[in-house]
């Protein structure tokens, strides 16, 4: 077991290195720091001096991979690759192009992101499973049919419209909760209700339908017939036998996104003005702050890989077939 987990963690290292190389190539090879400087300073009237100054201010005034001007180890360390890319492994994220400390921003913005993403995740899981079970319980009836129709319809609406529609109806028309904003502590609840509800609804169609398929697939298995042959009522068959088996793929599939919850949701946060990592990323994209985007890419993959490892661990916990092998 422990061996298995250690091996998974070791396996993650080359993947992270790969991600790092990809981001490095994207950010520094496709476009040179000069290009970025020109972009930031405005294409038209840029002097070489201004570019040099910008690069120096932001720490891009070094060679990419090899620094021949330095001696010994510094040949490698005093380079953009080492200082900007390799340093991320040590969580040294440096400063954003506007000069603020990225690590600090990430620390303070993680919580608001989580405050939305976690309730959406938990509530969503419960709601989707409940709906899917209802549909499966009434399978091949009109409840099931219209349930699937509703799911397909919900899937066909862009998440942007859920947000716009929700804001319009609940905040603007009915004035139930503030349209956007955020505050600390318990006070934040009134700001969070709407985004959480919208977050749950906007993913409801696809997930409910997917879970329904999973449940139905389990329903078709032989052990379900055995359970019925024992004289168990349909509810026991569904809630005891089928649910227990289908929850394994559902839960382990959900585990992978848990670490990513820290990153928050890009559009929900920006629409509702929540100072989380999602809106941070959007702002960075809009202001073309490459340093932030680069860090977020790295952080995102890191969290995803952590999620993968957690998935493996959760499998060994949930599934007796793997736990006891």
């Amino acid at each position: 077991m422990l061996n298995y987990i250690i091996r998974r963690i070791l396996y993650a290292i080359p993947i992270l290195v790969g991600v790092n190389l990809i981001t490095f190539t994207l950010f520094f090879v496709v476009n040179t720091p000069d290009d970025m400087a020109r972009m930031q300073l405005g294409i038209k009237r840029v002097t070489p001096e201004a570019i040099a100054k910008w690069k120096q201010e932001h720490g891009y005034d070094q060679p990419l991979m090899f620094n021949n001007a330095e001696e010994g180890l510094e040949k490698v360390t005093r380079t953009i690759f080492f200082e900007k890319s390799v340093a991320m492994f040590a969580f040294r994220f440096g400063r954003a192009d506007d000069g603020r400390d990225i690590a600090y921003e990430i620390r303070t913005r993680m919580l608001p992101s989580l405050a939305i993403a976690l309730p959406v995740f938990v509530l969503g899981l419960i709601v989707y499973i409940a709906f899917a079970l209802t549909m499966v319980f009434f399978r091949a009836t009109y409840v099931d049919f219209w349930g699937v129709v509703l799911c397909v319809a919900l899937m066909s609406i862009s998440s942007l419209f859920y947000i716009i529609g929700g804001q319009f109806l609940i905040s603007k028309l009915w004035h139930l909760v503030p349209i956007s904003g955020y505050s600390q502590g318990l006070d934040s609840a009134k700001f969070l209700v709407l985004p959480v509800i919208i977050g749950v609804i906007s993913a409801a169609g696809a997930n409910t339908r997917w879970y329904r398929t999973l449940f139905l697939e389990e329903m078709g298995k032989d052990y379900v017939r055995t359970a019925r042959a024992k004289g168990l009522p349909e509810s026991a068959v569904l809630f005891r036998h089928v649910l227990q088996n289908a929850l394994i793929p559902i839960l382990t599939g959900a585990v992978v996104v848990i670490p990513l919850l820290f990153l928050g949701s890009l559009i929900v946060e920006s629409f509702f003005g929540i100072p989380g990592l999602g809106s941070y990323t959007i702002d960075a994209i809009n202001s073309q702050d490459f340093a932030v985007v680069r860090v977020m890419v790295f952080l995102g993959s890191l969290l995803y890989i952590v999620g993968l490892i957690l998935t493996d661990i959760s499998y060994t916990l949930v599934d007796p077939r793997i736990r006891l092998e």
Partner: protein, 699 residues
């Protein structure tokens, strides 16, 4: 009447993609108290649907259209669903074919049996636990108190089926429905499970509805049998009456289609039933068997026959026996001879003896393929760095020879490594060690290109006719594939197509079929196409990997006939891999019995089957259910299951299950003991050969 179950005119429809299928069409049967009724029939005849209809557990697309199912006088079809649930698991217990799939994989055994106790007896906690242990003891699960808290995957196949039986017994049912309970199990395990069911029935006194396609199982288990064909029962009789003299032409054909040694000795072809089981979606006018029946006349095609009682205990649905058509009556010949059921068919004809085509230059040792000490190990990776921690010794040093134009049968239970051995001989799996010489040429380690040139010489036929043909290719492309790859008939499309026509005809299919796709053919026809594909490259040796185990008895007979005919005509040699002893008896010249990666006994058919020496061979042969009317033969009961080939027992691999075990068996693997120039075994019961006694011991 003390009948437990009475089914009257049951009609069940399955709504399929195209049109409704009358899977069960007017079925009537009766099961008495404490009796085992075997419902016999080939696949697709509606036996399982009958069972599910009784339980009212049909798939969603199925529906019972009419009829009645009375359990102790109460019509189950009229019960509301809630009341039906009190019947299921309590008054009727059911066990299914696939014990691996029929148990919930994430619930402990105790939990799954406990559910029945809680549902029907409101038994919980300590009391339930006590009862669970009791039931598990009853079905012969050792160490029940501890093992009941394990999960199904921790048990072997046979143990799982015992678990299923335990679950069915927990409700103390009046009727047990067993749907092919041993089909997925090996013969030695099957013998254990059948014995268990017999014993339980004697003790508990429940009735059993046994659904099976295996005449041997029916003969061993049943008090009465019903033969089902195309959705209806065509004959019911007591076991004795049926096996002494089956009446319906279909029943007779079915028995005559069974392979066996006597068939071979008599040099007869097997009595295959021509054609296929008809589709149940069509309307039937006359007798459903008329199209395939040799004795059918106009009436059979026009009027569906009614029941005729031959004796008190035998009824048949056939015009032949109706007094009104006296002229046509054929009294079934009575043949009490064990294992050789009545052969009424005038059509059984002798094989014409063809001169063997393969008697050209013999190799030094005279054999076509000679295998020495072949080993196939699969590494097991363990630990942090995935180091090789051990090997699964799938094939652990086997040696054998196949002569031209002869058939060697490689016999063993599932997991013994026989398929791996067959593939390794053809170099489809790289062998770990040993030598495989074809016609004197060493194949192991042969360079890919040179091996390719030889590939035409030895070919393969597979078990599953559904996965052995690419569904996206036409028959002509399938057959030509090998010819193209190996450059057979390379000169011109026309000659190639001619050859395809010829091949199809030689396997008994019309040449026009080459333009069609595999899905249009039945299992037996597909197997014929697969044979044609192998023959296309003029092989001398064909490895047949369980080629008939997925087929019905009547179709199996067709394929076996074809294989023998081809052998005579073309001088083919076969390596016939199978677990089915009666097929071996019919087709093989020599036998090699495999156990856990090694050959434990070798010899000619008569030697091995007539006087088996190795305790495993003896047990294997005794476990095969046979059709016998008188005294039940003694089954040598094997304890436990096949050990894992990753960790074979020290010394003789068989010693943990052997009843003759001696101290020596636990230490070293026995050397060969020779009884004749062809017959050898590896067992300490017999004097060990001197020259091989220095054989290395296996750690």
């Amino acid at each position: 009447m003390n009948s437990v179950l009475e089914i009257q005119n049951l009609e069940t429809v399955l709504y399929t993609e195209r049109r409704p299928v009358w899977a069960v069409d007017g079925l009537t049967l009766q099961i008495l108290k404490g009796e085992t009724f075997a419902l016999l029939g080939e696949s697709g005849c509606g036996k399982s649907i009958t069972a599910l209809s009784v339980m009212r557990l049909l798939p969603e697309a199925g529906e019972i259209v009419s009829g009645s199912v009375c359990l102790g006088g109460e019509d189950l079809l009229l019960l509301p669903e809630a009341a039906m649930r009190n019947v299921r698991g309590k008054r009727i217990g059911m066990i299914f074919q696939e014990p691996m799939l029929s148990l919930n994989p994430v619930m402990t055994v105790a939990h799954q049996i406990g559910e029945v106790l809680q549902r029907h007896f409101d038994l919980r906690g300590q009391a339930a636990e006590k009862r669970i242990v009791e039931i598990l003891d009853q079905v012969g699960i050792p160490d029940a108190a501890r093992r009941m808290n394990e999960y199904p995957f921790q048990f072997s196949g046979g143990m799982k089926q015992r678990m299923m039986i335990a679950m069915a017994l927990a409700g103390e049912p009046e009727l047990l429905i067993a749907d092919e309970p041993t089909t997925a199990l090996d013969v030695t395990i099957q013998a254990q499970v059948l014995e268990l069911m017999r014993g339980l029935q004697q003790r508990v006194g429940m009735a059993i509805l046994l659904i099976t396609h295996d005449l041997g199982v029916a003969s061993e288990m049943a008090h009465r049998v019903g033969i089902m064909y195309a959705g209806e029962i065509v004959e019911t009789a007591s076991r004795e009456a049926f096996f002494r003299g089956p009446a319906h032409p279909y029943s007779r054909k079915l028995l005559a289609a069974l392979p066996g040694r006597d068939r071979r000795k008599q040099g007869h072809r097997l009595d295959a039933i021509r054609g296929n089981v008809p589709s149940l979606s069509r309307e039937f006018v006359g007798c459903r068997f008329a199209d395939r029946c040799d004795q059918a006349w106009e009436l059979c095609h026009q009027v569906a026959p009614g029941w005729t009682a031959l004796t008190g205990e035998q009824q048949v649905r056939c015009h032949l026996f109706n007094q009104n058509f006296g002229s046509k009556i054929v009294k079934p010949a009575v043949s009490a001879q064990a294992g050789a059921p009545a052969r009424l068919d005038a059509e059984s004809r002798e094989f014409e003896s063809f001169p063997s085509a393969g008697a050209e230059q013999p190799t030094p040792d005279g054999s076509l393929l000679s295998v020495t000490d072949l080993k196939v190990y699969f590494p097991i990776h363990k630990g942090l760095m995935r180091r090789v921690a051990g090997y699964v010794k799938a094939v652990d040093g086997i040696s054998l020879k196949i002569d031209r134009g002869k058939t060697l049968a490689l016999v063993g239970e599932s997991g013994c490594g026989k398929t791996t051995a067959g593939k390794a001989m053809l170099q489809l799996i790289p062998p770990t060690a040993g030598s495989v010489r074809y016609n004197g040429v060493e194949l192991v380690g042969l360079e890919r290109n040179r091996l390719r040139r030889l590939r035409g010489e030895f070919q393969l036929i597979f078990q599953d006719p559904y996965s052995s043909l690419n569904p996206r290719m036409r028959i002509v492309d399938i057959i030509e594939e090998g010819m193209n790859a190996l450059g057979v008939e390379d000169d011109g499309k026309e000659r190639k197509e001619k050859r395809v026509d010829g091949l199809l005809e030689s396997v008994g299919l019309p040449a026009e079929t080459k333009w069609r796709y595999p899905h249009e053919f039945s299992g037996g026809q597909r197997q014929r196409i697969a044979i044609a594909r192998a023959l296309a490259v003029n092989p001398k040796l064909i490895v047949c990997d369980e080629p008939t185990s997925a087929l019905d008895v009547s179709v199996q007979a067709q394929i076996l006939n074809l294989l023998r005919e081809l052998q005579r005509n073309l001088g083919l040699a076969y390596l016939f891999i199978t677990h089915n002893i009666s097929v071996v008896e019919y087709i093989a010249d020599e036998i090699a019995v495999m156990y856990l990666g090694r050959i434990v006994e070798r010899g000619t058919v008569d030697e091995v089957l007539g006087s088996p020496r190795h305790p495993y061979t003896q047990a294997l042969l005794s476990a095969v259910p046979v059709i016998e009317l008188e005294s039940k033969r003694k089954v040598i009961r094997l304890h436990g299951d096949l050990p894992s080939p990753a960790n074979p027992p020290q010394g003789c691999h068989f010693h943990p299950r052997c009843s003759h075990v001696m101290p020596a068996c636990r230490k070293n693997y026995p050397a060969a003991s020779t009884f004749s120039s062809t017959h050898t075994t590896h067992c300490y019961l017999y004097p060990q050969d001197e020259d091989q006694s220095d054989r290395k011991t296996q750690a």
